[in-house]
């Protein structure tokens, strides 16, 4: 059975399928299109590999420090699940342009919307991310960030009218963005579902930190206009 779970995991790992969007908001009027690849690491055929989850997103800087974005998860789509996301990211503190040790701070809110084309089951999950980021090289726009990504399950029940006990999924993350005028490149690592056991579930996630959570690795590339 377990060899099949590589594929199944592509879908069930929905809560861990994308990196943080636009940690540092776009400039006013700036647009970006982003593609990302990666997901939680799991064991498959003796190897530990990231799930090849893919998504595309577009962002628009509606004013300085405020960017809206929307995305579509292409891997889920290929399995007949329309998974979209709509969100906004706001910069509350700008990083100090003279002191590379003083970080900026942003928060984002995302609504994750899913419906399958087979039985039309619809679900949505809110997501709130918060990140601190540093322009570690004042001569460049590259930045490094750490933060938390939080998913919330609002349903009081799960299958078969059993009580839903998992309402808050907490994912600390760290990433780096290599930012150039027209392009940016991002790699991010998440400690997925830190607050939940990874034991006795069908998916054989890699467990670098013992019995809780898993590790996700994501790569993304953005084209800015």
């Amino acid at each position: 059975m377990k060899r099949t779970l590589f594929i199944i995991s592509c879908i069930v790992a929905i809560s861990s399928c994308a990196p943080s969007r636009y940690v540092r908001p776009l400039e006013k009027g700036q647009k970006a299109i982003t593609g990302n690849f990666g997901g939680p690491l799991l064991k498959f055929s003796g190897l530990t590999i990231p799930l090849p989850l893919t998504a595309i997103a577009v962002g628009y800087g509606i004013k300085d420090g405020l960017t809206i974005y929307g995305g579509m998860h292409t891997t889920a789509l290929s399995f007949g699940v329309i998974q979209g996301e709509l969100g906004v990211v706001k910069e509350f503190v700008k990083p100090d342009s003279l002191n590379k040790f003083k970080p900026g701070f942003s928060m984002s809110y995302t609504t994750n919307l899913l419906v399958d084309t087979w039985e039309k089951n619809f679900k949505f999950w809110p997501q709130v991310d918060a990140n601190l980021y540093w322009n570690y090289n004042l001569n460049r726009n590259d930045y490094f960030y750490i933060g938390i990504s939080n998913w919330f399950e609002l349903s009081g029940f799960r299958a078969h009218d059993e009580p839903q006990l998992n309402h808050w999924i907490f994912n600390p993350q760290v990433g780096i963005v290599f930012d150039q005028p027209n392009w940016s490149y991002n790699i991010e690592a998440k400690y997925l579902a830190t607050n939940y056991s990874n034991q006795n579930i069908v998916v054989d996630y890699a467990k670098p930190w013992g019995e809780n959570g898993g590790l996700g690795i994501y790569l993304s590339i953005s084209k800015k206009f």
Partner: protein, 295 residues
């Protein structure tokens, strides 16, 4: 780059597919059944005292469905006395084929003593030498065909026990609650049952995610068990790292509302190690005790 993105989107939109076939971990590469000579991976291997005389092992085929797919069947016991014997029908799990489960079938054939009960096992469509494609409905269809064969040999419902393990609990529970089946078991035993694919999805993703997001095979054991009236024995390892006793087994057990239920939570046993953990002798005693219990 824009072209690349568009390509990805179009590819994705045009390639919607289901994961149903990936649910089944069958091996159809074998050319023959080896039984005792099978030397590939197995959960356990019994010693010689569990050997079955060759003349009490029958391998045969049945045709199933409108496509007349051949499925392979194994009967341990005397086919000529099925009309008076009690038979344990073993719905095996999701691994490979009957060779993998041969040791388990032999062990069942020692419940209450050597070949006290007849034991029948089949390879579902797509498993081992059986033709066709595996599916949830196919598991039930194949089992019903085998039960029809047992009926034709003279077996009646009051002498039928169905034992389902893991994936095999799907046809076992479905048929136990289906009064239209040609044979309905007098007693039902499940080992490490699924609750449903909804629970599999929710366990894997932590969120309340519908199983329909990845498969149309639902394995709704937690619902189908509500239709079962017969005495029910549920066995599950507390250390099952594949189908959690808490989210799968306990839910199935809780939803049973029939005549009599018995739960055996096997401390320390994993998904495939219940018989070994209990001990083979005690395992057989447990089954015999349930089968012969006056209710």
């Amino acid at each position: 780059m824009r072209f690349l993105f568009i390509t990805i989107v179009l590819f994705s939109l045009s390639s919607c597919f289901r994961l149903d076939s990936f649910m089944y971990n069958s091996d159809s590469t074998i050319t023959e059944y080896k039984l005792d000579d099978f030397d590939d991976e197995q959960d356990f291997i019994l010693d010689d005292s569990y050997d079955i005389p060759e003349d009490k092992i029958q391998l045969f085929t049945l045709s199933v469905g409108v496509d007349n797919h051949e499925i392979y069947c194994l009967y341990i016991g005397n086919q000529n006395t099925i009309n008076t014997d009690t038979v344990i029908f073993y719905n095996h799990g999701n691994k490979d084929h009957m060779d993998f489960y041969w040791q388990r079938a032999k062990l069942l054939a020692h419940t209450g003593g050597k070949m006290r009960y007849g034991v029948m096992m089949i390879d579902y469509k797509g498993y081992g030498l059986s033709g066709g494609q595996s599916s949830e409905s196919g598991l039930v269809e194949d089992t019903k065909e085998a039960l029809s064969w047992l009926y034709d040999q003279g077996l009646r419902s009051d002498r039928l026990i169905i034992y389902g393990f893991s994936l095999g609990t799907c046809p076992a529970i479905t048929i136990a609650g289906d009064v239209t089946s040609v044979l309905v078991p007098a007693r039902l035993i499940t080992e490490a049952p699924f609750a449903s694919t909804d629970v599999m999805a929710a366990d894997g993703g932590l969120l309340d995610m519908p199983g329909s997001y990845y498969t149309s095979d639902r394995f709704e054991n937690a619902e189908y068990i509500k239709d079962v009236e017969q005495p029910f024995l549920w066995i599950h390892g507390t250390a099952d790292d594949f189908l959690s006793i808490k989210t799968h087994g306990e839910v199935v057990y809780k939803n049973y509302d029939g005549l009599y239920s018995q739960a055996e939570r096997v401390i320390g046993a994993g998904h495939s190690t219940v018989p070994q953990t209990i001990g083979f002798v005690e395992y057989n005693k447990l089954l015999e005790s349930f089968i012969t219990k006056k209710i």
